[in-house]
Point group: C2
């Protein structure tokens, strides 16, 4: 084998990984959109086979030998080629450490657990989910050892969603959040509440659809490369950097829900669409980490989308779409309404300010759970205690408590912190962006092109060709969670008339 | 390797073929329905890779050794296992005879040719398509030798779409058709034309959609296993026998177009959904041949769907959906309108009676083309001459002439005859069905369950587990094209008041 031939093979292997991914994405998308109701079984067979083939490709002799050969002459490769080899090797070695039968057992368990969780949530019955969750926690602890034998188990899991973010990093981060946000939320709760009743009039889905089209236009999402669909839970699905789909869900008695889910998913989409063409069909395309991805979606959703400048810019158009509902509302009232702070039970429906505390609670529970100081059976009690302590809300049942999120049923322990990290990264990106461009001047004209241009340059274009930490540093500088808490303190003190 | 293990492997290999198929189908479906406009490239990369992997699996050492091993002890296998081994072996050997680089060249050529044909059709410029078509004809002639070295080239190609149907079989078939139908069509043309003007009033797509739902209900298509979508050209796509999709296209100035495309595709869907569960995920699932598939779709579309009994049964409901358009129309007028005979230019829009002559023209041209007695450059002239001779219509341009169908651009020479064969099979199925059940008594009540039950028993359940010829014989008896021409003669003589 010579180097040129090896590089060609590496390119082909990565294209194959891309193809398996695209195939699975397509089947998944079909399943949650247009597929007939009773067809999950056949799709499951196909998805299982494809996952197995991908796994075989990723851990096969061909891949192993190729990576060994190329690793032995890294200095001859371009930077991007070196990074491809390193990333694939890391993934290869990690996968190789997992015994095949355990991997299969794990795949089956997460499939089953998803169904069980669904039913347990509907029945609001944690005990129904407990045995599966116990197995998952045990298995995930064991897998943590395969992922990164030298790390503490929870650190090993965290690392998979946000490389470099460990408990030390997150403890510091969340301590700052807790110390600064809990009193702020408390103070806002004492102040006069804002009125958002006009957000809950009747908003016909048909007009909301047109409003979504408008929002995508404002965001600069090219409809030739990004469509919007409707699913129970909104998501973004990327096939490649020229083909991204977002979805939303229309509630006819709430304007803001779908509006902000479109902007949130639109932020994910802009990230994927902004990745450099030279990374296409390689392992270096796609967003680099969950934290960085959430930094983009939550940046557009909250920092831009819930800013006074943005709301004022699009408000005349909102009134055009919904003249009856919003005819007597002012832009300022709308700004305050979409920023209403109200401690609540459900993470995905939480406002910008209380959101991170929902995440903190999950972080604390996961840390204890994987660390071994909390038993699965004690989760509900601990969950309810923390909601009371941090958010002052009483959890009435497990459905609206510790059964609300699907993540654990899929084995995704360590994923939650990325939501909060992303939010904090965004605040620092804003600070740096404001030094370079006239953020609010352009946004107040309804023009997001400079904002997106800045993010494309600092974040999007790189895809996964750099470490998450490098990309964060490039856009944020040194991570400092107080920038985020300062941003929140300033914004919400003003809205709620609090002393800072 | 022991037999049990080998059979397990055979099962897995077939499941993989199913998975590749499902993946490609899903990507294809996405492409023609919801995918953003400018995303074909990335989907093409994935589809190309998947096709390559499927080909590699089908011709790989593993498959070869497995089939050899199992072939050597066929008597120990069940009938279905034997048939799986035989079918896979046939496919394996055929694929192995094609040199890999020629196969790739062919794949690339058909991909390109599809685009070229599209543009040539739009420009109505045969010369634009000619060079690609010449290459395709040359290559297909060569491939015919790989497919079946012992056969004449066109016979080898025909065999791929309808095993057992060769030129001798088809010459006889089409001669009967030509002799009996050309005079009948001529006579109908001399008689007083039926009025179908009410089919071309304004029919809003929104109500047509609801009408389609009703038609699917009448056909007994379970919406939990079969959905309907909208695409430029209607088609049926089967993932497995529990998951089939049909599509249609709504013209607002024509009621019958979409109505009969739904019934036609619904017929294909009923076939796929009726295949026995024991064949699932093996090479024996799926309809057995194009001819048998068309026999089902055209049976529902024409023999049932355009029957007096069916039209009368659904007519009250049609009036309910379209009270303004059909308030003053009678069921008998509707029956005559949907059976209007009018020689025309476009195959896919042709009526039941003239349809087979469109196919005959293509058969005669392909036969000469692959046989070597017609040059590609002479196709337009020959096409136009035959349309004049058989149908009495003057072809004004190539767009509405020899460029109208996509088949040749995809290398599908030998496919067309299945449309006509299927129609003829259907007439014989009707004759036998009438001996067993009260076809028109049940259909006139809007109840198709006995009809579908009969077809399921005689045709659907078998999937590809028997030879096309066996399935046809099982449902039709000995093939006799005069049964079909008699059926047409009787039906249209009555409608047009002709002496028989």
């Amino acid at each position: 084998m010579d180097r040129e031939q090896a590089l060609k093979e590496l390119e082909l292997l990565q294209k194959k990984l891309y193809a398996y991914n695209a195939a699975s994405s397509s089947l998944f998308l079909d399943g949650v959109t247009v597929a007939p109701g009773d067809t999950a079984e056949g799709r499951g067979v196909a998805l299982g086979i494809l996952a197995g083939e991908e796994q075989k490709l990723m851990t096969g002799t061909e891949m192993g030998e190729l990576l060994d050969f190329l690793s032995s002459g890294m200095e001859e490769l371009t930077d991007l080629q070196q990074r491809q080899v390193k990333e694939l090797k890391r993934h290869y070695e990690e996968q190789k450490r997992i015994p095949a039968e355990e991997y299969m057992e794990y795949t089956m368990l997460t499939n089953e657990a998803g169904d069980i969780w669904h039913r347990a949530k509907e029945a609001s019955d944690f005990e129904m989910f407990r045995p599966a969750l116990e197995k998952l926690v045990d298995m995930k602890r064991k897998f943590a050892g395969y992922y990164a034998p030298e790390k503490k188990p929870y650190d090993a899991l965290l690392d998979r969603y946000e490389r470099g973010a460990d408990m030390e990093y997150l403890d510091h981060f969340f301590t700052v959040l807790k110390e600064r946000l809990v009193p702020l939320i408390h103070a806002a709760g004492e102040a006069e509440q804002v009125d958002d009743s006009f957000l809950h009039l009747h908003y016909p889905a048909e007009i909301q659809r047109k409003f979504s089209d408008y929002l995508m236009e404002v965001m600069g999402l090219d409809r030739n490369h990004c469509t919007i669909g409707e699913t129970e839970h909104p998501f973004t699905l990327e096939f490649n950097n020229k083909d991204v789909r977002i979805t939303t869900n229309y509630c006819e008695d709430s304007l803001a829900d779908s509006m902000y889910s479109v902007i949130h998913e639109g932020g994910h989409a802009l990230y994927e669409l902004g990745i450099s063409d030279e990374l296409a069909y390689t392992c270096l395309t796609g967003g680099v980490s969950m934290g960085v991805h959430e930094s983009q979606s939550r940046f557009y959703e909250n920092i831009i989308g819930r800013s006074r400048a943005f709301v004022s810019a699009i408000f005349p158009k909102m009134q055009e779409f919904f003249p009856e509902q919003l005819g007597n509302v002012t832009a300022e009232q709308m700004y305050r309404a979409v920023n209403k702070v109200e401690p609540s039970l459900i993470r995905t429906e939480a406002d910008e300010l209380t959101y991170c505390l929902h995440v903190l609670i999950r972080y604390e529970i996961e840390k204890q759970l994987i660390g071994g100081s909390l038993e699965v059976r004690d989760i509900p009690q601990e969950w309810n205690r923390l909601y009371q302590e941090y958010l002052g809300v009483t959890v009435p049942d497990d459905r609206r408590g510790c059964l609300q999120d699907s993540h654990w049923s899929g084995g995704d322990f360590g994923y939650f912190p990325s939501y909060a990290l992303g939010s904090a990264y965004g605040a620092q990106m804003l600070k740096n962006m404001e030094k370079d461009i006239d953020v609010w001047g352009t946004v107040s004209k309804g023009d997001l092109s400079s904002v997106t241009g800045w993010l494309r340059e600092k974040v999007h274009q790189y895809g996964s060709s750099r470490e998450p930490g490098e990309i964060v540093a490039n856009a944020c500088g040194t991570f400092d969670p107080t920038v985020y808490t300062d941003y929140l303190t300033e914004k919400y003190s003003e809205i709620y008339g609090l002393k800072k």
